[in-house]
Symmetry: D2
Subunit: 245 residues, 4 copies
Amino acid sequence: MTASSSTKLRVTVWNEFRHERHSEEVQKHYPEGIHKTIAGFLGEAGLEVRTATLDEPEHGLTQEVLDSTDVLTWWGHMAHGDVSDEIVERVYKRVLDGMGLIVLHSGHFSKIFRKLMGTTCDLKWRESGDRERLWVVAPGHPITEGLGDYFEIEEEEMYGEHFDIPTPETLVFISWFTGGEVFRSGACYTRGRGKIFYFRPGHETLPTYHNKDVQRVIVNGVHWAAPTPGQPRVFGNTPALEGSK
Amino acid sequence: MTASSSTKLRVTVWNEFRHERHSEEVQKHYPEGIHKTIAGFLGEAGLEVRTATLDEPEHGLTQEVLDSTDVLTWWGHMAHGDVSDEIVERVYKRVLDGMGLIVLHSGHFSKIFRKLMGTTCDLKWRESGDRERLWVVAPGHPITEGLGDYFEIEEEEMYGEHFDIPTPETLVFISWFTGGEVFRSGACYTRGRGKIFYFRPGHETLPTYHNKDVQRVIVNGVHWAAPTPGQPRVFGNTPALEGSK
Amino acid sequence: MTASSSTKLRVTVWNEFRHERHSEEVQKHYPEGIHKTIAGFLGEAGLEVRTATLDEPEHGLTQEVLDSTDVLTWWGHMAHGDVSDEIVERVYKRVLDGMGLIVLHSGHFSKIFRKLMGTTCDLKWRESGDRERLWVVAPGHPITEGLGDYFEIEEEEMYGEHFDIPTPETLVFISWFTGGEVFRSGACYTRGRGKIFYFRPGHETLPTYHNKDVQRVIVNGVHWAAPTPGQPRVFGNTPALEGSK
Amino acid sequence: MTASSSTKLRVTVWNEFRHERHSEEVQKHYPEGIHKTIAGFLGEAGLEVRTATLDEPEHGLTQEVLDSTDVLTWWGHMAHGDVSDEIVERVYKRVLDGMGLIVLHSGHFSKIFRKLMGTTCDLKWRESGDRERLWVVAPGHPITEGLGDYFEIEEEEMYGEHFDIPTPETLVFISWFTGGEVFRSGACYTRGRGKIFYFRPGHETLPTYHNKDVQRVIVNGVHWAAPTPGQPRVFGNTPALEGSK
């Protein structure tokens, strides 16, 4: 009877991996792809990490890979439409069955996130060198471990409200941008037995994933989203309690 | 500058209308169809009501009908799969744009509800003469207007937890059943600008929609789900506040 | 069986009314007191309005006044400690019994708000001419009726996160301030049968309550916070359902 | 940069410890007091545990004890009024600063719980041998680790809705009782940096705290409520971002 686990959490870092192969600006920050940078700091934090990308067979997300994944992180942007509906359905079922999901930045428009949210996940945006300040509005939440009142990213793409998502179960961060906008930048949900964390920062032409606070939040997010051991849910026709009537 | 409206709310009552045409047991309680019974008490409550059913062209839900609907109520059971994806998409867009939606009983498995929730909406069930007590857990909520602590339905189909829905934004009712189960029977959500109310009772072989408390809750639900006048939401590329940088 | 009411909502506008009697800067904007300005636009919106202030007997909040109040608005700042605990308890009981409460600006530190929240309600602040932009994050909520994406106040006192409140049941507005802060500026709660709306703007040395959007939000808030007719709640020792065991 | 801790969580088990000294019926189940039973199974689960009771100096809750407590559990019933306001204030501040709090059964009426909730925390009750079934409505939540769909307590005191609490941030369990009632039996809150879990079962004349599922939930609750390391919150007058205006 213990609520902690001694085995390592198994994380799969998924990346669209298209920008990095065509843009020198992106390669400058992520020469091996965004996934390799994310996998790097997750591994240093003691997690068991592998990667998967869009152009691998089955997008690298075979049933076997998903079945041995505790938490999946998702970065996509220009090719959401190239993700097959079959794989989306597979990921969806695993989330409902308990796999954690961390959706990053432009992943807001991914098929899997929109399917889980039930909304368009649309927003305002601007690429023009805004400074971003992420304010903690849920101090004490595990995802804020080690943070102060806020942290800053010197330059980021702006995302602004209204963000068309369901009301977060827990709103962890609100971003301030130089140009006049705010954004619900850290949002927690559960769907079925699975925990979902949307985290805003991460524009591909900027070094955001090298920022230590951003890395800390993603590591914390993975720990928060870890599956809770328990029995599968039971649905369907069910008998009455004996002697109840 | 007023927050109340003098014009009548326009309600469209949608019904699958299949059981009623094939089952004498159902006809006994709803000789003209469940939609006619629901439309009847909504009309008596001063609402402007029309009906639509699955086997009409476009399921009775043309763009014109939806555009002139403030709140849509939905009952379906045996033919969820016969509802076309195109119509579901049309209803979905209207909900996000502000149309209220009241999902009744077995409508939990409808395409539109599952799409808006992002979950399977599965549950436990039993047809065996349970008594149902619906306890108010959000007294003061407009949907509970005129109710006491609880109300009862002498006989109903049992629906039991776990109900695979996202955490309700407001949980209004919890049902108790004779046979040992509980159920989150009144659940409020918003998606986009639209308000959604799921209300559990309403088995087709029982006279549930003739129950005065059930009628009262549905009338209250329609008023609660009425659209809020306001400007459409704005998304996309957006300039910075002048002089902000 | 109707969910709308034809009688006028009865609003009591409570004001500390101290700054206005000692500061020319405040008198410039509110020559008769902040309460008279608020009462003015509420009356124009068709509400039945009276006022009450700290230095009246029983702070103007006799049991009779409260019993005939549907919604109470509260502005205080420099004299929270002068409000008697007995009157706070009286207001508290009326809120739990269904009276709406609109807490304005520096009312965040009032005894009644802190008692209802269960937290310190502390925050960051700065008086230095920030511009404030209030972004709507709950479009479709009745309190946003008639608003667009956001509205602006050219100059306001800054309030910044972390705001020590419980997670709002509905977060309606998030403010952006020039100087780098964000704030949860419109927050809805229920306590017992009563609805509570905290609304941030309203510094005494600025003409905020003459702003048409601010007025609109307060009018909408009063309508939203109106009591729901229903029976009193029942507590205590209770018998089992007959024949249940 | 890690989100897990290798040091043991430090739990203080607080008990009123009055019933046990005067009632043979209570002594039968808890010969050394309810606190000793609770401390026993928490210790077996690998937690560092000590106890404190009402009639010790400062109720056993000195500043030093609280400062070295990660999670406090609270059982009280007949003597809530004997708990000094000064100690309640001390516990309150520690909760806002991050200490976890597990409130058990009749602790719903404790000063500390009512202060943190902002409501009366009143409810219905009956002592007459009801069976209780606790249904999991938040599968995947850490507090449900190791549980199935529901668990049962053969005999318990009934607590029934309406339970006068704020809407839980997460509702984990709903209880069914033989006699016709339901109850929100597992409810999570945050106040400041502190996490609070209310858990219903635990009548003093019944062997509830010897039930393995009840024990499991309390152990899980302690882990969930553990403080999150981070910096203290900052309030008050604050300068603008440099160069922001």
